[in-house]
Amino acid sequence: MFAGAFVVWEIWAGAEESFLAPQASEVLARAWEMWPTRAFLTEVAGSLKQLAAGFVIGAAIGIAIGLVMGTSLAARRALDPLIELARATPPIAIVPALLLTLGFGDSMRIAVIAFGVCFPVLINTVEGVRSVSPEARDTASMLHVGRAERVFRIYLPAALPSIVAGLRVALSIGLVLVVISEFAGEGGGLGHYILDQQGQFAYPEMYAGILFLGLLGYGLNLLFRFAERRVLAWHYGAAGERAR
């Protein structure tokens, strides 16, 4: 099917004969020449580094606030409208503000990514913490388990599957934001590369860049699923046990 899609593209582009739509074979050939070059790998590494930094910072903030909001009703009610407003703000809307405060460099880009990543993680953390069974909660308070210990031994593990689901949503949003922040800022990166090639009318290269971006997203997703299976093995095991 995948190969089929390429064949359709090839034939369609061949019939169209437009310089806007290069044939699949040409794009693939260009992509093949491109990927081992040092310059290109640097761009990819640059994108990945931003993504990793923004993702970790955003996820940490999201989990921290999510834990507070999940465990305390007062905090939840007090912060809800603020969070809802901030969450509804498309990250691009804060780019101009960040450009002015942080400049065009890396910190601006990382901040944009962290902002976008934070909210899905936060929402899912709250949901996850709230789904802790009342029995576990009551047992803990009956046994006088301290607050910190309760958070780390009960709430966090119980919320983990939900948090991981949020992280996965955040990962794809993060990839979008990498591209956006590269459009806006200076320095390299895959998004920057695509825009550059379009500006130079180098369309096969532009398509190849998009192709690599798709591959990158696909690869990251696979990696994530692998890590998820590792980290949540106990959860799937228990869920499977119950199903049986």
């Binding site: 995948f2 912060l79 509804a88 691009i92 806006a184 998009i210 997203g217």
Partner: protein
């Protein structure tokens, strides 16, 4: 009177007070530390917002944005649900399309803006397609899951009772998938808005995003932040509207999912 009281109870007063408090803190911090060069204080942003709305400039931009955004979202809902149901009801189609879907899905829609720009120019049409591309994936995937997760026994009962294929689709599959589809639409709505404003910001000549960009270049900070605020309010409104509609339409799927906060 009683209605007003009830409304007062439903509105989260304390939460909105926190929002006001944060705005006040921002105001004080900006005045104290003289951050006027990079952030405009709320006392200047709000008048700029009012002025932009009363002069019609911001409202015009809002309308342009909404045209592309809602058009694209509608297109995405139609295509996503259609293909989701189609692919979801056939094992063969699911297996065949899986790799293509998994490959196309992670391509960030914003990366396709330069491409769409070549084909459709900078107008509303280009943005509509970009929004549709970005918004279609959550809807498609959620529809898929919803359709596949629908109760097998219900299907078999309907089949045994002689309900036609179309009847089963409308009366068994779709109602079962609807909560999941609604979730997909809600996710898509915020992604679509992000993409619409982004496309305007970098490539558009009209709309809130373009307005924001213009004000940034002109260093008109209050006007720029007014546009940011308007975008946030727009996103918030869309979210609330969707949640209310969902509660109305999908009344059968338990109250559990609506208990937030």
């Amino acid at each position: 009177m009683q209605r007003l009281l009830r409304l007062g109870k439903r509105v989260n007063v304390r939460g909105w007070l926190v929002v006001v408090l944060v705005a006040l803190l921002a105001e004080v911090a900006i005045q104290l530390f003289e951050l006027h060069d990079s952030v405009s204080p709320p006392s200047e942003t709000l008048p700029a917002l009012g002025e932009g709305i009363s002069s019609g400039e911001l409202l015009g931009a809002l309308r342009t944005t909404l045209e592309a955004y809602l058009g694209g979202l509608a297109l995405a809902i139609v295509v996503g649900v259609l293909f989701g149901v189609l692919i979801g009801s056939s094992r063969l189609l699911l297996d065949a399309s899986f790799v293509v879907l998994e490959f196309l899905r992670p391509i960030p829609a914003v990366a396709l803006i330069p491409l769409a720009f070549l084909f459709f120019g900078t107008g509303t049409e280009m943005r509509r397609y970009i929004v549709a591309y970005a918004a279609v994936w959550p809807i498609l995937v959620n529809t898929l899951y919803g359709v596949r997760g629908s109760d097998r026994i219900l299907h078999e009962v309907a089949l045994a009772s002689g309900v036609s294929r179309l009847g089963r689709l409308v009366r068994v599959t779709l109602p079962a998938a609807l909560p999941s589809i609604a979730t997909g639409i809600r996710v898509s709505a915020s992604i679509g808005l992000l993409v619409a404003v982004t496309a305007e910001f970098f490539f558009g000549s009209a709309g809130i995003g373009a307005y924001m960009h213009r004000q940034q270049l002109a260093f008109q900070l209050p006007e720029m932040y007014a546009a940011v605020l308007l975008t946030a309010l727009l996103g918030y409104t869309v979210n609330v509207a969707l949640r209310l509609t969902e509660r109305r339409v999908i009344h059968w799927s338990g109250e559990e999912r609506f208990r937030w906060p």
